[in-house]
Structures are given as C-alpha cells and as structure tokens.
Assembly symmetry: C2
Homo-oligomer: 670 residues x 2
C-alpha cells in the first residue's frame, strides 16, 4: 500500500535510499568510499502534492488520488569530505533521479560521527597537548573540546579547506555533570577536516579594558581548589527550594486531539501533518482549519548566531544551526514529566548515520494541550452575568541542543485559527577566557575570569501560505494620522493605508506606524467586511544584524538584514541562509537571492519569511545556565472568518474546571 | 492594635472617613447635601512609610516601628456635581487634615449610582422617546443606553458643564443576555449632569464611502426578524464544540504561597502586599525578593481609549478608564473555576457608595500559581543528561468591565526575580450604525449594518522602583555596530552604549537599536560583573497616539505620546493622565507635567512610567465578542544577581509532575 506523501521518512526508506546511492556511485565509479551526511525526505513538487492533498481533503479514496513521487535527498562525500554530492533518489523506481556535485566553496555539513572524531584528534594532538601542559592545569583537570564550524573569515578565503575551530575548557571536578563551560582556556586549535590534523593553535586574548585590551598580560589557570559554577542538581552550592508544591495537569477524559496515520493531527477544527526532517526538524504541513486551506508548510528555516567580539578567532564564531548542524539531528529525546505537563503524545523520527544506517530519533517531538488563560470574556452591564471561555492551545514542541546552547521551539495552535511560533533560548552561554578582575567591551563578566560575549541570534521562519488557495498576496498596512481638515475638524482621525507587494522583496517592521503584514487572497472576500480574506503577521520588532555591510558575517546571513521577505514559491527553496552554509562566505541561493529575482508576487504562489532577532548582552543572571528568553510571533486570521471562530468554545465553569478555593486568611492587624 | 500601614481600607474606615467629612462640611457650612464619589486609601508619605517598611523587614516588632499616619482620601460633590472637593482625613485623629476644591474645568468622576440614573433620565426623556419612535422599531425592541463620559471637545470648551454623551442600541430578543451592541441606533442624546436633563440629541452619520460619506441616505431600522449576533451560551447560532475534554490543574499538597495579615503574600523568595484601591484597582506594594528591595509600588496608572472617527460626536469618544471609572470600582467579582484553574486565593476589597456607605467588593483579585513551561534546560553533550526545571509563576489577576469592553490585568511574578505585567483586552467592540452594504474609512464592518471604529488603547504602567534602595537611576542602553577599523578588522564587532537620564523627561522605544531601559542603583555593584545592580525594562514597542498635535484628544492624554517617562518621586503623583480626567481638555498634573519640571533624576527617588499602546483596527473575527488581545511587559533583573536566581528550582521530574503518555498511533499507510 502506498504511503501518504507527507509521511515522514522511515528506517527502511533510509536504507533503500542509501542502497540506491551506493549502487549509483558504483556504476559511476567516481568515489570508492563515502560518508553519508544526511538522508532526508525530499518534498515532492507542490504541483504534484497539492492535487493529492486536495483530493484527500475532498474525501477521495487513496487509490483514486493522483500519483505523488516518493523522493529522498541523500548528501554524501568522500572520506576526506572534499567532494560532496547530493542525490535525489526515487523510491518509486529505486533509482537516482538527480545528482549535483558541490562546487568549490560549498562544503558539506558534518555528519553525526564527526564531532567525536574531531575531539579525539584535537585532544590527542601533540601540539595541543604541549600547549595545554604549559598551562600547568591542576592534576584533577579534564579538558573539554567544543568543535565549532570554522565560520566566516574573508571573502578571499572562500576556498579555505573545511576546518574546525575548537574551543577548550577545563573542568576540575570529577563529576561527569560538572559545568563544562565554567573555565575556558586561552587556546583554540584549528583542525583541517580532510587531513584530520591540527594545523594551528590560535591564542585567545585574555586582556581587558584595564590593560588597554592587551592580548595576554597575566592569564591564570585555575587553581586546584577552583570551584566551577555548577547547574547540575548534584553539584549546586545552594540548597534546592523546598517550598515549591507539585502542580499537575490532569485530563481525566483524555486528550482533545487525535493522531492517525502516523503524523496526521486533528484538534479543535485544525488538521495538519507533523513533519520531522533532518535539516529543519519539526515542520508542519498541509494546515487546514475547518476544512479551509491556511498554510502549505510552516517551518523554521535557519538560525544564525554571530558573535560581536572582533578579536580573532572570535570573528569566526557564527553558528548556522539549521544548515550546519541540522535541527532534526540535534533534537533532544524528550522525557515524560520533564518537558511538558499533562497528556503527552510523542512523535519519533528517523535519521541516517554516516554509514547510511537508520537511527531512530525517539520522542523528538511532543504534543500536548495547554490551558492558555481566558480566551474571551464579557460581563453584561445590564445583568452582571459573565460569559467566559478559557483558551486551550495545542503545542508541538521540539528542543535542540547545540553544544552549549539549547533552543525550545513550539508551534502553538489556538482555537480561534491563530498559529503561534514560540522560541525559548536557554542552555549555557558561550564563555571565553579573561583575566580575573578585568572587563571587556565585548561582553560581560559572568563569573570570575569568565567572559560571556555579546552576540545575536536570528531565527528565520518560513511561512508558505495557502489562504483559501495557493494564490496569495502580501500587503502591508499602516495606521496613519490625518491632517486637521474640514473632514477632520477635531484632529482625532486616522486611517489605515494598505500597500501591496507586487514584486519579491524585503520589508521591515515599523511598530511606530503599526505596520502589519497581511497575507491575503484577493479572490476571496469576507462576506461581512468586504475585505479579502487573510492572515496577519505582526512581526517581532528586533534589531537586525549589526555586523558591517561588507563583513563576511553579514554577507553569509543576508536573511538577517530584514524582518520580512516575500518570494515567489519554487520547489526546494526552503533555506533562508542558503543551501550550503558550512564555512560559507556568502549567502547563496538563500532568501536574499530568491527575493532579488524581482518576481511577481501579487496573486501568486508566494512564501513569506520572517526573521526574528535577539541581541544578547549577557548578564550574570544567565550563568551557569540561562533562564528561557522567550520570543513569540503569531499568524492571526484577519477578515478570514465572518465572526469570532472561538464563539463555540464551551463556557468556562467550575463544573468542568474543578478549581479549589484557598481559604481566606484573617485580616488581623499588623 | 494598629493596622499595617499598607493594609487595604476597611468598611469601618470608609464609614469613619465619611463621618469625618460630613462633620467637617457641617462645620464649614458650605454644602448641604453631598454625594460621595470615592472614599479610598490615601498613601502615607514615602518618607514616613519607608522607615516603617524597613523596620518591618528588619524584624522590629510592630510596637517599636515608627508611626505612620492612616489617611483616607474622600472625593465628594454637591448633588448637582458642580462643586467638587477632596478631603484627606486622618483616622488617627478623626479629623480632616486637608481639603481642596476642584477648580473650574476640573470635574468629579461619576459615582456608582449615577450611570443608572443617567440611563433612566435619557430613556424616559420625551425628546429621546420621540426620536426613537420615528425609527419605527419593531414592537419587540428594547432600547439600551450606554452613558459615555462626554470626552474632549475643544479647548475653548473647558468650562462645558458636566455632560454625558449616550449611545443607544436596540435589542430585538427578549433574552436578557442578548447582545446589547448588535444593533446601534443613529441617535446620541446628550445629558447635562447637573440639570439631570437631556439637552440635545446628536444624530450619528450612517453613510459610507459608497455615497461619499453622506450623513444619512438610507438608514434602516432593524426588521422584526432581525437576528443579533449573539455570544451568550443560550443564544449561539452555532453548536458548542463537543470535542474539548476537561483539563484540570491539581495541586495535591496545596499552594506554594502563603497569605498573612490580610494582604501580605510570600511566594518563592518574593514578599509583597496586595493593594486594592478605588482608582487604580490592583496595586502591588513593597515588593522584595530574597529580602532585597525591588519595587516600592507597581500599578496601572491610566488607560485612555481614543477613537479615530472624526465625525461628531465620535471625536468625543475617548475613555479614561482609571480616571473616570475607577479600576477598583469596575472590577469583576471573579468566579471559582471560571477565571482561573487550580488553587485560587481571592482577595476582597471595600468601596464606598454615593452615600458614604461601604460596599464590599468581593473576589476582586484572584491569585494562583501557573506552570509557565520550561524555566531552563541544558543537555550535556558529553553525557546526554538533561538538566531541566519548569517555571512556576504567581499570577495576581483583576478583571474590569467598562460597558462594552473588558480588560484582564495580571501581575505575574517569576521565580527568577522577573515581574511581568500582562494585559488582555477582550469584551465587545464598540459599535456604530452604518447603512447596510456600505463601508467606512473609519473602521470595519463586523456585522451587516454594524461599524466597528478604529481606535487606540493606551495603558500607562507606573513603576516606582527601589532597586536595593530608593535612590535609583534610569539608563538607556543601545547595541551599536562599530566601523571597520584595525580593532574591528572583520567588521563583526558591536558594543553597548549607555546613556544616563540626568533630568526628568520622556523617551521612546527603539527596537532597531535594541534600546533597553535599565533602572539601576549606582551605589550597589554586582560583585561578579562590576556593573551597577539593576532591573531592565524592554518596552512594548507600539504606535503612540495618532491624534493630531493640537487636538484635545492628544492634549488631554500627553502620557500617550511617549513610551517611557522618568520623573522625580513626589507623594501623590500616581496618575499619568492627570488628577482629573473627566471631561478634561488638557492633561494637568499628569506625567507630562511631572517630567516637565526638569528635575534631577540621577541617583534620586525616581518613578518610571511605561505607556503601552494598542492600535486596534477591528475585524469580523472580533465580533460579537473579541478574543483576548495580549500585551505583556517584563521587568527583569540585570546584574541584580550574581548568578541565575532560579538555579535552585527543583528539577522537573516525572515523579513530581506525573504526566501521562498518550499511546503512539500506528504508522499505517495513507
């Protein structure tokens, strides 16, 4: 029996795809031994998938729906990583249907097996060992190594071989959960990936403003009695709070959602498919509300995290967490009772290892309902009667760990047709060495001798809409004051100005103008208001990329220059920061290039991208582990419905909610 | 025994204050009969209260703490409302200690008994009845009347007598919960309050762009079979959702908070007093974390809601919900299981009626704990072990109904020292008549023949800080890119620029610069970072007041011109929009005037004000009742703590949280 075209890749599909590629390589004879970088679901062309989804929505039985090819993308390279290829293979015909060779300057991301190999090589390298031994670390010390993608350097270095810039930390505690990042060392080995060899050790500056930012005037290695700032429960210096009583979420009649067919979710008029992919991790497909088309695909397209410390090699600290690491590959195994409360549904996925073997990614997505407080309320002035509903949301959550940092991402569906995306940034701030008692313009001191550098995060959301159909238009609305005229004699008037995006381009948030972006369908008008049906996006108004115009930092992350992009849909254009971000010096075939095609986007199949920034100047409160920094953006129906679509949510009553009143205390004196 | 100086006013105190005023009036002999507008707690001077609070915090027994006077503010007027007075009375000496007479142009707000009286007068007025009868309403019709404060007109009209501008609606359903606002009538009677007489009936324009906004070309009254758009459970046209399963919050070991002494709350290192006052409703006093001073007082100071429709009399539609209506006086009686889930603690308050009698305001504040999702998480790359805590918050909630609109306000305390203020705007959008099939530049059609006018909401938060003491400073930080230089050879560098507010003034949000406001204490430095201890305010970046520079709409709400204000503390300066807002034509003694004093605010006792705007262009989705529109702002510790203050929150484990896993569904085909 045929699988649904949006079902996630399976273990056997991964193995079949690897076999197809191996056969194809053998027949081509150009590579002897390969490492697989990823094997992931390759989305069928929208022109083929959309008719299938429409047929499905129309209740047409599986056997009568149109054919949709089942494709898999396989990225692989020779052992050295110098020659990279991506094959698209068909599972319908068991053949390779396309293959591209990566060009000079395009590098494959590292596979899951490589980081441990890099660490081994670096920590066993004789020059690294010699440099470490000069630091006279206490005998109890363990050195940890974080292999960072080499990041940007200069444009002229586009042909730099694939490298790793490693940062080292020392741990003086024998406990395996001791904070790895509590004592950074002033050494940064550079590894040539192809040669699997340390080619250089960069020295990290440790001076401060007190000595005119001199490189290194008196760096002290940790003493034997050094106490790292710990976060693990077994190692805390402070007693755990004893006065927090348990709070349970109990759903005696079960969940309000239903999952069928592996990844088809139905909940409160919503219906969508949960995707789990190597590169963008959690993605939501074919999202409909009450049978109406809303979004074809929602996903987080790219993340970049550039650091603002100009001292080499820190200018290379710029992670691309989707393009380099793969959100799917970095997903946490979620734990019952740890990451959520209540009734939890888990979704699993499949990834490939470097040998083309399938590896189960268990519990990588969790789904649960949450109470979201009052949904709407009105108390009648006439009668004093309150009408009130509580809001309920459906949360799909995925958590990524990227060495020191952790991100919690959630797609949140509301009963009223709103879709929200929430980002929680947490984990451990990246630390750098600084001499004790010194301060830096490039960050904050968060523990004695530990600098947390200023940095920015940019998250680019990819919104592929189908508001009552695939032909949509992006418009911008602003609320504009009117001059005092005969029509406006008291000066209180203002109006809404709408402008249409005719060509693919970018745009910026302008909260001072109440600028709102709307994705509308010009062919469908709301019968009540007469306006085109639409969804509005109130953008997160953040500072954008601070790196200079001509910096590589900026050139490789053009998507972080503007809040909003609108592009014409093309199959495969899923990556805001470009297809190949590993050691890139320029964003290539990213959203900047898509937009630059200057294509018609009025009443066309469009994609809207929203880049959300977080400029982070750390504080001591964010060490040794950082409380969640929350960012959130909503896509809300605007003239999509003829009345409040959550009008039919049941009233909030004590009979259903069973709250408990705490006894009033006496109001005794003093 | 003496009461704590921050305990809320009691019934007996209200009665005593009324008696003192009555005696005083009698002795002065200037008024024969009065109506009380409010009788409310009058805060003692900070110079007297602060030493008491310090003594309390130091554990000094009640009897040894310094004396703090117990004062009550009483506003009253003669029966006509023309002569208004505010007396401050001392309950220690049973005497009036101060009295001011309201000046020309200053009007008392209406008391709780007046609206019903206005409605009676208007709906029984013969000219109103005649005008209504001309509309040929169906016999089933009930006419409703909403008395609005007369609002702004022209500067030259500062001496306009106190008036009411009423809006009328017709209801064709006999059900008492039928939507009052579903069919607005094109008449607006104006009442002279002192004369208790309708002096004029304004006609409302009902034309649209289709007829060049002509005044009235074909207004149709509702037919006998008119179906109002209903929101009450008994009247819905749509079936209630049957697939929403119950969700309970269960706290088997009780709450983590403790309430003592009537209004003293202790929870997770926090300690504060819950105030309930006639004018600003819920206010939080003497807020300390782990024994350290954080805020002296937090409150919502004013709300204004100007409408953007220039057609008279709509230019007068500008509510001041705190100054005119009194947040305390408009507070909902909260219901168990309706407004919150879990273990709920209620607080009651006392208000005065027009006769000086005490009226209990029952359940006007509720307090409960909420799970707020993951607080912090890190998964070790070395071991795969996840360290994770869930965040718990303490929510103090109060809900206001102001005729058609409802606001839900919550002060939310976090375990990490963050204080959040959340606004949820809900209720019924104010409606106006428009001829069927026509459209307006001044709003959206939300039901046939019903216009919802564009408007703005401005909420001004008053933040009276005491960050490790009362001498504080407001600073502004921006993240600034640096030019490419020898020091910044790769162009990635940026730094943080800080500027100090030396004099009282205003400031605006600038998210494109990552502008952050910090309230710091220059005398206390963080031992780790070396920075002054502080709390940061990331302002809500909203559009500000759109009304023209010279409009009365703007002149009476200068607080809505800028996001941030910093002023030097003075006793009694609690009201951003001015002391007397009823029918004001100018903001007088509001935050604009406080700031204009150009006083030193560096290392002084300061107050920071944050005005949050919401520009609202309604949509059909917001009728017949509007889903909550949420705004939120946080005050977060920044260099206040030496490490993450929520490090000691217990780990999130299944043993405590008792979540339930939903069975995986089969991944069968199609």
């Amino acid at each position: 029996m045929r699988r649904h075209p949006l079902q996630n890749i399976t273990a056997s599909e991964i193995r079949r795809a690897a076999d197809i590629v191996r056969r194809s390589i053998k027949s081509r004879g150009n590579l002897t031994s390969i490492r697989f970088k990823y094997i992931m679901f390759h989305e069928p062309p929208k022109a083929l998938l959309m008719p299938y989804l429409d047929a499905e929505s129309d209740g047409i039985p599986v056997e009568s729906r149109p054919f949709v090819p089942r494709l898999v993308a396989v990225l692989y390279a020779d052992e050295s990583g110098r020659e990279g290829f991506e094959s698209i293979v068909s599972l319908d015909t068991d053949t390779e249907v396309d293959v591209i060779k990566l060009l000079a300057g395009q590098q494959v991301p590292n596979d899951g097996g490589q980081p441990q190999q890099f660490i081994q090589t670096i920590l066993n390298d004789s020059s690294v060992l010699a440099a470490i031994s000069k630091l006279n670390l206490p005998t109890s010390a363990t050195v940890y190594c974080d292999p960072w993608s080499y990041g940007a350097d200069k444009f002229s270095h586009a042909d730099t071989p694939a490298q790793i810039q490693a940062y080292l930390y020392v741990c003086t505690s024998p406990h395996p959960e001791s904070n790895q990042y509590a004592f950074p060392l002033p050494l940064s080995p550079v590894l040539d990936i192809a040669k699997n060899k340390v080619i250089r050790i960069d020295t990290l500056d440790t001076g401060g403003v007190e000595d005119g930012m001199k490189h290194n005037t008196g760096y002290e290695t940790p003493p034997a009695n050094f106490q790292p700032k710990e976060y693990h429960r077994d190692l805390l210096e402070v007693p755990v709070r004893a006065d927090l009583k348990p709070l349970h979420v109990v759903q005696p009649e079960g969940p309000s959602f239903a999952v069928s067919n592996g990844n088809l979710v139905q909940w409160q008029k919503w219906r969508f498919r949960v995707g789990f992919h190597y590169r963008d991790g959690l993605a939501i497909h074919d999202i409909r509300y009450d049978g109406r088309k809303v979004f074809y695909r929602l996903s987080l397209s790219e993340i970049t995290v550039p650091y603002g410390d100009p001292r080499a090699p820190y200018h290379r600290k710029q992670a691309f967490d989707i393009g380099e690491a793969g959100a799917g590959a970095c997903s946490n195994v979620l734990g019952l009772g740890c990451d959520c409360l209540g009734l939890i549904q888990y979704f699993d996925g499949w990834l490939a290892d470097e040998n083309g073997e399938a590896r189960e990614a268990r519990n990588v997505i969790c789904m649960h309902e949450q109470d979201s407080g009052i949904g709407w309320k009105h108390t009648s002035r006439q009668t004093g009667v309150a009408s009130i509903t509580r809001g309920r949301t459906l949360v799909l959550q995925s958590i990524l760990t990227l060495m020191n940092y952790d991100y919690i991402f959630a797609w949140i569906f509301h009963q009223d047709g709103t879709v929200q995306f929430e980002i929680r940034a947490t984990g451990i701030i990246s630390t750098a060495p600084i001499e004790k008692g010194k301060h830096s313009p490039w960050g904050s001191i968060i523990a004695p001798g530990v600098l947390a550098q200023n940095h920015q995060h940019f998250f680019c959301l990819r919104i592929d809409p189908m508001i009552d159909g695939t032909r949509n238009t992006l418009v911008q609305e602003e609320s504009v004051a009117l001059p005092e005229t005969e029509e406006n004699p008291f000066g209180n008037a203002w109006t809404v100005q709408t402008s249409v995006f005719e060509k693919s381009t970018f745009a910026d948030a302008a909260p001072e103008k109440n600028r709102v972006f709307k994705i509308i369908n010009e062919s469908h008008r709301n019968r009540i208001s007469g306006n085109p049906v639409g969804y509005k996006l109130v953008p997160v108004v953040s500072q954008m990329l601070l790196a200079g115009k001509s910096s590589v930092t900026r050139q490789r992350a053009r998507f972080a220059e503007h809040h909003i992009w609108v592009t014409r849909y093309r199959d495969g254009e899923l990556w805001a920061g470009g297809r190949w971000t590993e050691q890139s010096v320029k964003e290539t075939n990213g959203v900047f290039d898509h937009a630059a095609r200057n294509e018609d986007v009025k009443d066309e199949d469009i994609v809207v991208w929203h880049t959300i920034g977080l400029t982070h100047t750390p504080t001591p409160e964010q060490f040794p582990v950082m409380g969640v920094e929350i960012l959130s953006v909503s896509l809300k129906p605007a003239h999509f419905f003829e009345f409040n679509p959550a009008l039919d949510v049941p009233q909030s009553t004590q009979a259903i909610n069973k709250s408990v009143q705490v006894e009033r205390t006496s109001t005794s004196s003093c």
